[in-house]
């Protein structure tokens, strides 16, 4: 029986294939794709309808070269052949894969095609590199009590299947936390799909999330399955959830409630089993108050809440991360840089890192590239670290004391995000009160330009 006929005779077979936690493709005797299971569709970024009939190498893009060699081995020995390699998918991601190729035979015992199984071995590879002492770039580091709380909470969150809302300033590692949660959950062997809600306009985002049927709108020449269906049985990570438009918020709410939705232009409901992790750098609670975010969706997403503390609140982590990233980049560049000088450390630990870990990492990369000696000195640091801007001094003055004060516990996530806005508003009110409502003087007092003050007043609806 040919692979084509297997699927025509028994459509339930494809359901069976989708239940297997490895990528699977059936190839005909010409090594062209006959069918792929859902996981392989996710791995490659191609759906079966697009890939059917195409020579498998164009779709799988493995580094094993032509599979003719493997196929010959399979045909000669009659046994399955395995090899380690990798693929590059449509999303430009290289995935380490363990390939297994076996021959399919018809009733007369003649070769009718091949089955190829692709096992994602990224986790194994990263464990291997850890074992060999190589720095793991996806590792989350932190020894501070604030991060200890995050790690503690993460182990709890990984065991549940409820929606998680991750908040935190930009560069605090929300994406890494989401991926780590998925990797340590029961869904780890299933897809992890990341969607940036702020990156696409509303109409495109709806189609991206929920898919569309052929002819749903002008230019919809093919059916797309959408990210929710790709993430079936896995996790979907919606980053910048605060940028989601109100109509899409309604649709997302119904998916969260019923685990089913209509694709764009579709008339048949699609059922999915997906865990949702959402992240945002802004205060959703405030957005709810201002009518920009639906309250019901907020409470539905906010089942479990994890706040990533900003780097300036993480006691002792700055030094740890500086050393870690310097070692990492030094090894990568083969420079042999061992440490920072005392002066450089003073500058780096005093800096308030508005861009958090991402900024610190970039500073370490810059230093590793610029430094010609064995130790990174102040001359090897980016110049902007030595030019305290007006806003940075204001931030340092206004933000740090309340956050470090024992009265305000640092883990109160949305509060600290909301705090800055409140502090900023309070600062402006104070300045205006002191100057008797004179905006020019108030702007001088705050160390801002008059336009900046006007813009901020407008932002706070005070103008």
């Amino acid at each position: 029986m040919k692979p084509e006929s297997i699927f025509h005779v028994s459509p339930v077979f494809s359901e069976l294939l989708n239940a297997i936690p490895h990528g699977i493709a059936f190839l005909d005797t010409n090594l062209c794709i006959v069918v792929m299971n859902r996981l392989l569709e996710v791995m490659t970024g191609y759906v079966t309808d697009e890939a059917r009939g195409i020579y498998s190498e164009f779709i799988l893009r493995s580094n094993l070269g032509s599979k003719n060699r493997m196929c010959r081995e399979v045909l000669e020995s009659g046994e399955a052949v395995s090899d380690d390699g990798n693929i590059i998918n449509r999303q430009r991601k290289k995935i380490p894969i363990h390939f297994t190729l076996s021959c399919l035979h018809d009733e007369e015992g003649q070769p009718a095609g091949f089955i190829i199984i692709l096992e994602d071995i990224s986790v194994l590879k990263s464990a291997e590199s850890k074992h060999h002492g190589l720095a793991d770039e996806t590792e989350i580091l932190g020894h501070s009590p604030q991060m200890a709380k995050v790690f503690e909470l993460m182990s709890v969150l990984a065991r549940t299947d409820a929606s998680v809302l991750i908040t935190g300033e930009t560069g605090t590692g929300k994406d890494m936390i989401a991926e780590a949660l998925h990797e340590s959950s029961q869904r780890a062997r299933q897809p992890f799909i990341k969607v940036n809600c702020g990156a696409l306009p509303e109409a495109l985002l709806e189609s991206e999330l929920f898919g569309h049927v052929k002819g749903a709108f002008t230019g919809a020449v093919n059916e797309t399955v959408g990210m929710f269906r790709l993430a079936h049985k896995g996790t979907i990570f919606l980053t910048e959830i605060g940028d989601l438009s109100l109509p899409l918020q309604v649709k997302l709410l119904s998916v969260l409630d019923d685990q089913e939705f209509f694709p764009v232009g579709g008339s048949r409901k699609v059922k999915v089993d997906v865990r949702i992790i959402a992240a945002t750098h802004c205060s959703l609670r405030q957005d709810v108050q201002q009518g920009r975010f639906r309250e019901d969706l907020f409470y539905r997403l906010n089942v479990l809440h994890l706040h990533m503390p900003p780097l300036r609140e993480r006691d002792g982590d700055i030094r740890l991360l500086l050393d870690h990233f310097l070692r990492q980049f030094s090894d990568k560049l083969g420079r042999g840089i061992t440490a920072y000088t005392k002066k450089a450390i003073d500058v780096l630990t005093r800096y308030h890192y508005p861009g958090n870990v991402r900024e610190l990492r970039n500073i370490a990369e810059y230093s590793a590239n610029i430094c010609q000696g064995k130790k990174v000195g102040t001359k090897d640091l980016p110049q902007y670290l030595f030019q305290p801007s007006e806003t940075s001094t204001k931030i340092a003055a206004a933000i740090i004391p309340p956050i470090l004060s024992p009265v305000e516990p640092p883990q109160s996530a949305p509060k600290s995000v909301g705090n800055w806005t409140a502090i900023e508003k309070e600062m402006m009110v104070d300045a205006l009160r002191k100057t008797g409502g004179n905006r020019s003087k108030a702007a001088d007092l705050l160390g801002w330009g008059r336009t900046t003050l006007w813009r901020k007043l407008k932002k706070h609806k005070m103008a």
């Binding site: 062209c32 195409i54 020579y55 893009r61 003719n68 449509r90 999303q91 430009r92 991601k93």
Partner: protein, 114 residues
């Protein structure tokens, strides 16, 4: 620049044994396309070649994000995930109709593929 293998766009940028360089203006080829054999197959060497040849557009199959970012950072347009015979792909590029992810006819048989 089109990364090729046999008569087709190479499935992978980093494993392309050959590249084709064509110059066109106003939807017309200015000269016969040149073929360059890549000495050591690697993405870095092909990126280097693209810079040396001063190309404006790279057309390829699967490419890793870091190489894609590098080329776009160097102001080179990258049209990736293209599947098809390079002759048809080149024609589409000349006509300004080529898009990332395009799949052309003629990629369905092993004999014609490689």
């Amino acid at each position: 620049m089109i990364t090729t293998r046999g008569d087709f766009v190479s499935p992978r940028f980093d494993l392309s044994p050959e590249v084709l360089i064509a110059t066109y203006y106003d939807q017309e080829l200015l000269e016969e396309p040149r073929s360059i054999i890549v000495s050591d197959v690697s993405a870095e060497i092909i990126c280097d070649l693209a810079l040396k040849e001063n190309v404006a557009t790279v057309i390829c199959g699967g490419i890793e994000e870091q190489h894609y970012q590098f080329l776009t950072w160097k102001k080179i347009t990258v049209i990736d995930a293209v599947i098809g015979p390079y002759v048809d792909v080149l024609q589409a590029a000349i006509n300004n109709t080529l898009k990332s992810g395009a799949i052309f006819p003629g990629v369905t048989s092993q004999e014609t593929a490689l």
